[in-house]
């Protein structure tokens, strides 16, 4: 096969070639498979790390421009053209900083927390589908793919608690409690909103979800997509939900007492979590690796998915640059009193409308419903719920304003 054909199905071909090489060196087929899979795992785990180096630069440039300044530049310091190597310079700096251990810390737990947070952030990437099935572009296609991602994302708050509690510092403690209560409150709308694509696709596996998205789920379920996006923004601790690392308030929150690479581990894990959240959102709602010409050249699936995830990551970065930090009781109230009821209502409405469309479609001229009909009815249902929600919010706002006015005029006596 020529070069283009080799590159079109790159990972399968490279894997096969490597398998042949290892077999030629005398390894048994079982060990060959294990070694090839291990190398594939290193690539899957190392890819996000390399991407994060670029993304840190991108985020800092974008935030700088939003704030009417240049961001990292190359004047006076050698950080590559346009300061692209800034993140590399930061990494080298962090690797050579002294570890300053606070007295009275919990020695073992203090060290486990940063290791755990990075390990979990990397472990999520095992199930991300970078390309069509049978193209060697997903480490493992678990049939509980989405559930695996949610379960691992919940492990990050363990490391937050461990870091905050073991640091022997009041601010770290406070920061850890607040961060944990925020993350725990946003797990519920996230899981409920996640149930909608799982329902529409009939499977939790990542490839199955992409398979069912001839019409992307963001069209079929825009409100669950919005709920999931907001909940995901809170889960990764991105502004406006940045209680975990409130820079100006509690001075870096639960990782105050961490220095050098231990802090670097938390920082790295936060960026990797942002990226994996963007990838998962793209798989769930934007159609994953779908795009033109993917059947002929599976490697294009990686390109399309990365573009979609980059778009989502850009939106998260704009949030970081442009939004203020919300107060913890506003954040918790928003989750419990708005997102959770809305997610429950959307789940009920989507289930009912989709089932009715399916039943009516089965009795009609053709036995199955076209995805566009289904999408149309579901979009309409979402639009109606959005209008009703807006009306309810307007009534609530009117009542609250009337109460505030009454209180103001009562004092004048």
């Amino acid at each position: 096969m020529n070069v283009l054909q080799f590159v079109a199905n790159l990972f399968v071909n490279v894997g096969a070639w490597m398998g042949e090489v290892l077999h030629g060196w005398g390894l048994s087929p079982l060990w060959t498979a294990i070694v090839v899979k291990f190398l594939a795992g290193l690539v899957v785990a190392g890819g996000p790390l390399a991407a994060v180096l670029f993304l840190i630069w991108y985020a800092r440039k974008v935030i700088g421009r939003i704030q009417d300044r240049m961001g990292p530049t190359n004047d006076g310091t050698a950080a590559g053209p346009f300061a692209l190597l800034q993140a590399v310079a930061d990494a080298i700096k962090m690797l050579t900083k002294e570890f300053i251990f606070p007295h009275g810390r919990d020695k073992v737990v203090f060290l486990i927390a940063p290791v755990l947070v990075v390990a979990v952030a990397v472990a999520i990437w095992a199930v991300i589908p970078f390309g069509p099935p049978d193209a060697g572009m997903q480490f493992v296609d678990l049939n509980i793919g989405v559930f695996y991602v949610v379960a691992l994302a919940s492990l990050t708050f363990f490391s937050m608690l461990m870091a905050g509690w073991s640091s022997h510092n009041k601010y770290a403690n406070l920061g850890a409690f607040r961060a944990v209560s925020m993350i725990v409150s946003y797990e519920i709308p996230q899981m409920l909103a996640l149930l909608v694509p799982v329902m529409l696709a009939g499977t939790m596996g990542m490839q199955g979800l992409i398979n069912a998205q001839e019409v992307p789920f963001i069209v079929m379920a825009p409100i669950p997509a919005l709920i999931y996006f907001l909940a995901m923004t809170a889960e990764v601790g991105r502004l406006p939900f940045e209680q975990a690392e409130a820079d100006a308030e509690i001075v870096a929150g639960y990782f105050i007492e961490y220095s050098g690479m231990l802090f670097g581990a938390f920082y790295l894990a936060e960026f990797i979590n942002n990226l994996s959240a963007s990838f998962v959102f793209s798989v769930l709602f934007l159609g994953g690796w779908r795009g033109p010409w993917v059947e002929q050249a599976p490697i294009l699936g990686l390109v399309w998915l990365s573009l979609k995830a980059f778009l989502v990551f850009s939106v998260l970065t704009f949030f970081w640059g442009a939004m203020p930090r919300l107060r913890i009781d506003h954040i918790l109230g928003f989750s419990w009193k708005f997102l959770t009821p809305l997610a429950l209502v959307m789940l009920m409405v989507t289930a009912l409308v989709d089932k009715i469309v399916q039943i009516v479609g089965e009795r009609g001229p053709s036995p199955s419903v076209s995805p566009w009909t289904r999408a149309g009815w579901l979009f309409l249902a979402n639009a109606i719920v959005a209008l009703v929600t807006a009306w309810v919010l307007y009534q609530v706002e009117k009542r609250q304003r009337a109460q505030r006015e009454a209180r103001r005029f009562a004092v004048v006596r």
């Binding site: 899979k37 291990f38 795992g41 290193l42 785990a45 790390l49 962090m94 690797l95 050579t96 900083k97 002294e98 570890f99 251990f101 606070p102 009275g104 060290l111 947070v117 990075v118 390990a119 990397v122 472990a123 095992a126 480490f139 049939n143 559930f147 022997h168 510092n169 009041k170 601010y171 403690n173 409690f177 209560s181 725990v184 409150s185 797990e187 519920i188 899981m191 149930l195 799982v198 329902m199 009939g202 939790m204 001075v251 007492e257 050098g260 690479m261 231990l262 670097g264 581990a265 009781d329 109230g333 419990w336 009193k337 959770t340 009821p341 429950l344 789940l347 009920m348 289930a351 399916q358």
Partner: protein
């Protein structure tokens, strides 16, 4: 089952990636511990009051509410996976289940569990 063996292999890789940066930094960094460096950070003041502050009961209430709704969501997952092949009455049953839990949310709301004191 071999899928989970692959996940186990991947966990090994993930742990390697977790341990490697701090280990590398430990090898490369200077080690000069010093009494003043190890003091508790409190924006430059000496630390004041007991360090492990009292745990506000509000956090416990949020965790309890989270527990109830998380179990509900976990129980809904198998229903969601089987949804496409279920008849209409199964959907009505699930909606009743959700309504019972909505009543729970309203109760928790009215009792004041969800306000931050």
């Amino acid at each position: 089952m071999s899928q989970y063996a692959l996940i186990g292999l991947y966990f090994v890789i993930a742990i390697i990636f977790g341990v490697a940066p701090p280990l590398l930094a430990w090898l490369l960094s200077p080690k000069k511990p010093n009494r003043y460096k190890g003091e508790v950070y409190e924006s430059g003041l000496k630390t004041f009051g007991p360090t492990w502050i009292r745990f506000k009961p509000q956090y416990y209430l949020f965790a309890l509410a989270f527990l109830v709704f998380d179990v509900e969501a976990a129980l809904l997952l198998p229903w969601a996976v089987a949804y496409l092949w279920l008849p209409l009455y199964a959907v009505i049953e699930a909606i009743l289940f959700l309504l019972i839990l909505v009543i729970g949310l309203v109760y928790v709301w009215r009792k004041g569990w969800l306000t931050w004191m």
